[in-house]
Structures are given as structure tokens and as C-alpha cells.
Amino acid sequence: MSVIEGPRTPVAIGLRVAIVVLTLATAYIHYTLGSMMFVFNAAGYVVLAAAMVTPLPIFARYRWWIRGALLGWTVVTILGWVMFGARFDLAYFSKAIEVVLIVLLVVEMFMYDGGPINVVRKGIAWLISIARYPFNRGTQA
């Protein structure tokens, strides 16, 4: 099972590599900031970066979900900084990385998932199917 969902073109590989590198870069910056909140944020980025390139069928099947989660994690990180964050050079650098990361994730969403709106639709359908699962199971039994 390939790490890349579609054809392994140089653009697709470069895009995935760039996403992972930027994710790990912002994770490292947050890790260096010390407190539990930042370490937790960095851990989230590292887990999602690993999930973006894990070549297992289950990860490949839910890559659209992982991409959405990474996008959401990045947006929440930026919003958290806008509301409570300190304004200094390293923070601006980190936010620049995160903005580029969001752009690349959106590009990947258009390449593989039909765009961010389609991912949201898919996510809602997935959540509904999970919520219905116990009831469907009961019916089958």
C-alpha cells in the first residue's frame, strides 16, 4: 500500500513531503516553548504527521480524515495564538509555516477528496454512521 493515495507523481510526492516537513517544523517550534500545552500541541502534530505517511491500508483508507484533522489542528493552533498568544518573532515564523501548511492541505484535499467541503460532508456522514452503529448492530442481532 502506497503512502500516496493517487498516482505517485513528483508533485504528489513533493506535496506530501512538504506537508510532513512543515508539520514537524511547527511541532518542533511548539515543543521548544516548554509548557505542557505546547508539548501537547507538538505531540498532536507529530502523531498526525506520522499518520499522513503510514503505509498501512487503514491509514490510507482514512487519509481524508487525517488530512481534515491536521487542518483542524492547525486552524485551532492559529486561533489559539490569535486569542491568547504572545507576539514575537518565533511565533510569527511558526504561524507563517502553519498558513502554508493549511494551503498545502487544502491543495491535497482538492487532489484526493474533492475539496474541503466534500471532506466536511464525508466527516458528517462518517460521524452519523458511527452514531447509528449501535442501533444497526441491535437490529442485525
Binding site: 521548544t32 516553548l33 516548554g34 509548557s35 500545552m37 491568547f84 504572545a86 507576539r87 514575537f88 518565533l90 511565533a91
Partner: protein
């Protein structure tokens, strides 16, 4: 080129690379040794940060006269110190910098009260300054 000459050239470049590495290590060591935390000016109130907490839960300061906070950042993590009134209004704001290093923060004359010390990078880093 003969094998003997080739080998001697290779060993010379290995020695040169080793010397360069040692020089870099020595120079970087000198740089680190030069960045001490420094000595607080006389009469300054010392506030220090380590492991992303202020090491002093509470510090005393003179009311109705200007004073200096000597802020020691003891770790290689960005910190600053901000003095805030109970209402949330700013009294003094220090620069964010990485440690180990120290910077003075001049605080203007303040009324007797309890103020908060905060780090802008770490909102959970809090201490109090009692002016009396």
C-alpha cells in the same frame, strides 16, 4: 597520482577536518561561557523563570517609587515578565527572550496593591508582586 600520495592527501584532509571541528567546538564553547546570567543592579527585585514557572510565588516591591525588576530567564525557552494591575491594565512589559540570560525591567511608580506577574508566552505562568 600514486596511491601513497593519494593516501597522504586523504589523511591530511582528515586531520584538517578534525582541527576545524575542534575549533568550532572550542569557539562555540567560548560563546556559551560568555552568555552568563549577569549580576542584578543594586536595589533590583529579582524574578526568575525556570521549567516554565516563576521561581518566586510572590515578590515585594516599594510603592510610590520607580524600581527595577531583574528578570532572569534560566532556561532556553522564551519568557518575559509583564506587570499587570488587578483590573488587567498593563504597568510594565518586558521583552521576550531566550535564556539563560537576564534583562532589567524598569517599573514606574505604582500605588500600594497586589499586582500580577505574567509571561506572555506561557499564560499559565503567574506570580504576584506586592507593592507596599
Amino acid at each position: 597520482m600514486t596511491p601513497v600520495r593519494d593516501r597522504s592527501r586523504r589523511s591530511r584532509s582528515v586531520v584538517l577536518a578534525a582541527i576545524a571541528l575542534i575549533a568550532v567546538a572550542v569557539l562555540s564553547g567560548c560563546q556559551t561561557a560568555g552568555t552568563g546570567i549577569g549580576t542584578p543592579p543594586p536595589g533590583a527585585i529579582v524574578v526568575s523563570a525556570n521549567y516554565s514557572v516563576f521561581e518566586q510565588a510572590s515578590v515585594q516591591a516599594p510603592a510610590n517609587q520607580a524600581f527595577t525588576i531583574w528578570f532572569e530567564n534560566r532556561e532556553n525557552v522564551p519568557h518575559n515578565v509583564r506587570v499587570v494591575q488587578g483590573t488587567g491594565a498593563n504597568v510594565a512589559l518586558g521583552q521576550i527572550f531566550n535564556g539563560p540570560a537576564a534583562q532589567p525591567l524598569n517599573v514606574p511608580s505604582i500605588a500600594p496593591a497586589t499586582y500580577k506577574l505574567r509571561c506572555d508566552v506561557h499564560p499559565d505562568m503567574l506570580a504576584e508582586l506586592v507593592a507596599n
